[in-house]
Amino acid sequence: MPQQDKSHTTIGRSDYEGKEIIPNSQDELKEAIRLAFDYRGDVTLRFKDGGSQEGFVYNFDHLSRVIQLFIKEGGPRESVPTTASYDQVASVFFSGADTAFGKSWDTWQTKSAKQRAEETAKHDEKAQNLGIL
């Protein structure tokens, strides 16, 4: 089992994928933002003024009430850093796929040899297309 020492938690993420949290209190807002930070996929922050931003939340600070995220911009595979204020947020929608879900060692072990070979071949093909293998 490689690099589990580096492993972010990989269970429970599917519990949030596709769901939206509409906080009713400051505590619920803080928890929603913490979950967004913990989530290994893009989230959509929906704002009180009707606007929204979709991106990857990589940092938050309960004291300064600032959320930092990379929002998609400049191309489908590119993004730029930006910030949002806690006070703007009306809801947190877990809109992107949870990239950590199903990637645990435990899950890998339950797969058949054929499934493993197929996944490896798929990854190799992608890596070769990216020129990194």
Partner: protein, 338 residues
């Protein structure tokens, strides 16, 4: 001796100078993650589980040089992702060598033969090859057949060209001491300078708790692996850390010893935990509530951790922190041939 004398001297003089200045929170090894993209997809590895737009991000050479200067640590470890994917990795390493930093370039070696011409042998540069055991163990660990053989070819090529080469190995509960000992023999036969070892880290919520090592299991496993050790085994670790892994000495974590910098900034509090990011190293040191972390703290995520990124710095600090620590180091150096 697996570490060049100049490196040992640099590290020793650095630590002593920090202690003379009364600086408790000094960094020893900067963990520099220039990207998260990898060409392997090891099951359970969380470092690469990000959306595509995050995987496409790279730290620029200038960002890296600025971070290295700001941090001031004498050693820089470059994990990832797979750093050899970074298009400017040659320039990055060259710049770090010019700054006289001792670099451990951590790689799975799949691209090593292809990219090796980007680098020049130097006492400041060591390829740290990810090897999780014998062929069957390693290939299963990285979920890809043939990876061990490719890594071995990379090691041979790097050794032949005069590069410093080390290995880094993470061990879990299912590790068989006899296999690990055979693996050590094989690595030494390949001509590696030294081997790094660490127990895997046990995240509280990780699904496969059976594979993670608690403290007692860790000390038992490493005790079996390292008993009657062969004279030709060389470890790229502090002898005190090896004693710690066997339960012969008790240490507390030094999470600031291996600070982590990546595309998100300086990671709080350590390489393993992600509790947020700050934009400067100074801020990391000054605003992190260090007392909240470590084996003796209330933090459950730290309870079973004995990983080198938290305890190697403690081991080195112990060498220069007390006479008993220094004596322990001298004895260990003789015993382990370090």
């Amino acid at each position: 001796m697996p570490v060049p004398i100049s490196q040992a001297y640099t590290v020793a003089s650095y630590v002593i100078s920090q202690k003379l200045r009364g600086n408790k929170h000094y960094p020893l090894v900067l963990m520099l993650e220039p990207l998260f993209r990898c060409n392997l997809a090891c099951a359970g590895c969380g470092k690469i589980q990000y959306p595509e737009h995050i995987l496409n991000k790279r730290l620029s050479p200038q960002q890296i040089f600025d971070a290295v200067e700001e941090c001031g640590a004498p050693m820089v470890s470059i994990p990832g992702g797979e750093p050899l994917i970074h298009p400017e990795i040659g320039e990055i390493v060259e710049g770090l060598v010019a700054r006289k930093k001792y670099i451990y370039l951590c790689t799975n070696a799949l691209l090593l033969k292809k990219k090796i011409d980007l680098f020049k042998p130097s006492k400041f540069l060591s390829f740290s090859i990810h090897m999780d055991g014998l062929k069957e163990d390693h290939d299963v660990a990285v979920c890809r057949d043939g990876t061990y053989d490719t890594a071995v070819e990379g090691i041979k090529e790097a050794v032949k060209r005069g590069f410093r080469v080390t290995t880094n190995t993470t061990l879990f509960a299912h590790a068989k001491p006899e296999n690990v000992r055979k693996f050590f023999d094989d690595m030494m036969d390949l001509g590696v300078e030294g081997m790094m070892l660490s127990p895997g880290y046990s995240y509280q919520k990780a699904p496969d708790q059976d594979s993670f090592l608690g403290r007692e299991a860790t000390t038992k496993l490493f005790g079996k692996i390292l008993q009657n050790r062969k004279k030709n085994w060389k470890f790229n670790l502090s002898p005190n850390f090896l004693e710690f892994l066997q339960g012969n000495v008790d240490y507390e974590c030094t999470p600031w010893g291996n600070p982590t910098y990546n595309i998100f900034g300086w990671q709080k509090p350590c390489y393993l935990l992600q509790d947020g990011y700050v934009s400067t190293f100074k801020e990391l040191i000054e605003t992190t509530e260090w007392s909240k972390y470590g084996h003796k703290s209330e933090e459950v995520r730290c309870k079973d951790c004995m990983v080198h990124c938290g305890y190697e710095a403690t081991s080195v600090d112990d060498t220069f922190g007390s006479l008993s620590g220094f004596i322990r180091t001298v004895k260990g150096t003789i015993a382990y041939g370090i």
